[in-house]
Symmetry: D2
Subunit: 352 residues, 4 copies
């Protein structure tokens, strides 16, 4: 129901999007859009890419006197600090573990400048659109918070009940476990100095999800959340609720017993289901994790081949993050918000 189309290449004029199906009459929270974009922006701290983008959004349509019109909301974000010249040496060479090779073989041509359409710059558009989805969800009491739960082999220890956006934003790694955050920061900094990169895990908690979101068969809520997350650049895995570790449990341990809670409502004693039963939200918090690989753009010398199959030793120039997960946090939130908002709208017609 809520449809986002994105467009734009990394080193073209703009990246942008059209959000269609956004209901009319909603007061636009411009500061929220700006805030989320700032969280994704390069150059936020010493450990992120130094590309300098103001990432301000220019709205082209769909908003009138501060409210949504019901018509498509189009917007663009200018690409200011483009340095297409940085990529001239990539014109005929395939960067290892990048989309250069597959894009060229699929389409027969590619924009080699900074990854073109396959660049993660596209995710800025998702973050802006996600802020709109958050506006839709807010009146229902839905709160989406994501954070970095792992970097390399450094894990963290988090109490869901104490989690808050402030705690997460208190450090540049966006890990609410302070001790882990310090070790993660130091690890990332060491990789920046050695021109290497690392992967990590972003986790997400959604509180206040209305009961009944999700379609029971192909469009199960977890299936749509999983697709949304796996569509983010560099994502390699998704799990929700008990996830992969739940496979080692017994049914008798894993089942969430129903009970009546303090407010007199039917709830569950545990939440290994991760807030979703049979593809439909059950009113408990939804939580999930997304695995991100180490980013492929490293400035070390790497063996590869060129278009004609000749071996090449490549050093990828450009400005890249040694660890992408701190900046992936708002992207995960945005994709969760878009998915939930879509299902919120779909659920309005499940019965008359």
């Amino acid at each position: 129901m809520l449809r986002l189309t994105t467009f734009g290449e990394s080193h073209g004029q703009v990246v942008g999007g059209v959000l269609d199906g956004f209901p009319a009459g909603i007061v636009i929270d411009f500061p929220l859009i700006e805030k989320d974009l700032m969280r994704r922006k390069p150059g936020q701290s010493a450990i992120s890419s130094s590309r300098d983008e103001t990432d301000t959004v220019d709205f082209l349509s769909g908003i009138f006197e501060g409210k949504s019109l019901g018509s498509p909301i189009a917007f663009v974000i200018k690409n200011k600090d483009t340095r297409p010249g940085d990529y001239d040496n990539l014109k005929d060479v395939y960067r290892p573990s990048h989309a250069d090779f597959t894009w060229e073989k699929k389409y027969g041509l590619r924009d080699h400048r900074g990854g073109g359409r396959s660049s993660a710059r596209e995710t800025a558009v998702r973050v802006a659109a996600g802020a709109f989805a958050k506006m839709l969800l807010k009146p229902y009491g839905v709160e989406i918070i994501a954070w970095v739960s792992g970097v390399g082999s450094i894990t963290s220890n988090i109490d869901f009940d104490l989690l808050s956006a402030d705690l997460i934003e208190a450090n540049p790694v966006r890990c609410p476990d302070k001790d882990a955050a310090i070790r993660m920061y130091e690890y990332i900094e060491s990789l920046r100095l050695t021109n290497n990169s690392t992967g990590g895990i972003v986790s997400c908690l959604v509180r206040g999800v209305p009961l009944g979101l999700g379609e029971p068969v192909f469009d199960k809520l977890q299936a749509d959340l999983g697709k949304a997350m796996l569509s983010i650049n560099a994502a390699k895995g998704f799990e929700y609720g008990s996830g992969f570790s739940g496979t080692a449990m017994l049914g008798s341990e894993h089942n969430d017993a129903f009970m009546v809670d303090a407010r007199g409502e039917i709830s569950t004693r545990t939440n290994r289901s991760g807030g979703i039963l049979g593809g439909i939200s059950n009113g408990q918090p939804i939580y999930f994790s997304v695995a991100f690989k180490p980013i492929a753009s490293i400035s070390m010398e790497q063996p590869t081949v060129d278009k004609r199959g000749n071996p090449v030793l490549l050093k990828v120039e450009g400005r890249h993050d040694p660890c992408v997960v701190p900046r992936a946090v708002p992207i995960v939130e945005a994709m969760a918000a878009l998915t939930l908002a879509d299902h919120l709208l779909r659920n309005k017609v499940s019965r008359m």
Copy 2:
């Protein structure tokens, strides 16, 4: 492009499906459909549910003189061994970790007999449709093989180069590591005797994927594969290529170097990417794993509540598997085949 609609409730007259967008002129491989359905069927071995279904497919349309017509292929599978009476005590009670509660709250009513639409019986239809997708893929040399790689905390050790369908089908657990298979079988058998259940992991390898399948942004190949897998009942997680363990690697370790292979084609030295770069298949084998929770239907007594919130001690009758993953193997294959066949068709229009 290839659209599957499924219908039917567990204890209604039939389950069935309509496969639309299947190209014309393809010779239907009826034995393949039957074979895959047999692999999913209950009652195959001592460790699976004793529900007795012949699971034969009745084709209603779209096939003429043994070939696809290009029109929708509709088919039904009769529900023969229904015992709706088994479920009478579930009419007003919510089974722990089942869809009873969420379905009833979303729709305001439910078919309580055996889970109705939320029953895994629906997956028989996916398996039949998946066989059609395999027919589409076969001329391209695509081979999809799934197997059980974990049950409870029992893991397995598998060499991708030696993997074959025969090896997998050689034991009722469908684990090609014989030693692990024996331990898994014994573990599942012990759970059957104690009325409990366990989770497990199904892995899948796809060889011979044509280069160029997948769309580069929202419909990345891994995103659609992930959605397909997470739409299977009881799935809790999905990872492909290096997956969650890849998050702990360095970029310099993780990147797959391009090289020219023995046939003179551009290939990669390693395959941590899992056959997909930037959402598009790169010609290397695709591999992924799906986590399944322990099935919620256990015959032990469990605390829950009824519709009015009264506490109830429930013992779920009916015939259930202590471990669902051996029967999930053909379902995972079917969903992979449907996803890949869809992208095969979509790729036909990526350039003129």
Copy 3:
């Protein structure tokens, strides 16, 4: 939102459909389904095809204890009086103005028995699904009535205010203008005797349409109604409101002045707009007409060619209507109901 998939070939086992997106909890009006199917059925009167079909619907899913479950509603209608042998002489010959030629060229093969998938028998499924849509619309006060307004060059004279379903169903031509109906009947009867056929026009009036249905750009209400009508076999044209004759009017004559009506609501003095402004229903009655060509199956000898291009003199056997429009009336109603019900659901999310 409301999605109908149909399947089945004219002389296969069944024709059928799956209606997905139908809201849960609606009491199914089985007699309405039966009544509408009876109106479309062949063999109703001396002037329609003598194919003998009971056209009873077998529901396969989605209904429980007389109510919709929210899951897909699948149903089939058996093809009983099939005489595939009637069509043996058509295997290699292209019937003039039929889909034989185009189907075979598009798909490379065809089911030649009675037109296969391209047969108007498929419309029985639309009529059954349309009855469901009518159930959705009824609580909103929407009333859809179609009738035959022209046969060959015989036109009719109708006062919208006096129109009723009873008046229309009072004669086999389904024309509420009694005098015209008699002339139409005689004309059709004369064509039956001379093995010829004629075209005609079906008009439709929809009263009680809620304000606000329709999307403002590509999915304008008239665009979706037009598509629905033009997807009916033999339809050649669609017009709504003032239609083609409105092109000759002046703006000052054509504009519908707004006023406040007796109930104090904003209404229009005239209704040349046909109940739709800017693609959105304005609360006035919607009316439109659909042109149907003379049905191509005539039992006269006609020149044509066979597959190899050899000239052939063809006499189409089988049982056909000399004039299809009386039986098209419930089909037009069904397609209108499906379109309006879909937009009713879509409109639920146009604002929060």
Copy 4:
């Protein structure tokens, strides 16, 4: 397969669109885009609106070194000559036969400046996108030409075999029948002087359509063409082939006999089918007509009501065409091109 999303309000910053699914590697014909936009532009002649827009397209994405990249093609057209102040008196008043009333009731608010999203200015985007579709169709030999066949009650006489784009563009009315064109011009001019407007008919001929385009049931080629045409502002009707007049014919007159033509290919002697049989193109020319109502914006004084239901005498200011059909010609062509190009892509997967 080819998806156009448009956005923008008449008096906002821009109107624009995103064309997704356009195949990679196609050389962009920029002059064609410009030429078609010039044909739609206001201010072309004395008989069209005097709004002064350069209507130049700014491409934001999807094109690299003059070729399509396979990624979404986004573009905007600036709104330069906006005079939102012209519309201040319309803020609280509903213009007769405009979308003001329905838009406001559906969405709860509206951009009253020049019709906002419901303005025909949106069609500039369709024309630009249609030029891309023409680029797709050109290598297949498809030629689309539309013209004005009627204005008010003035009809024209046209020989399809002699029709050419040059003949149509030879006069400002775009009617290839010179005598009729003169009378049409004079009639339109007289209406401009009396502040009135008239409707008209645009006809379209498509030569060189490949055999096999169109889906046989709901997405019949004529159904999608009809929807496309009826989604154009002010369209009231659509007919193809013999259309409404074909309803008065006998089957024996109407059927198109198959024959083998001079090139040895199976063709038809007549073309009452309008190039489409059973929803699928048969290789003969497609032709259809679209009825347009007199444009509602007239500068005469008209009775209407305001938001509160008070009677108002309204004189619509702004710059409007007395007859929209000459400018609708390129819009009809564009919508035909988009529909045919979409079906060309869809047809690529009808058989393997």
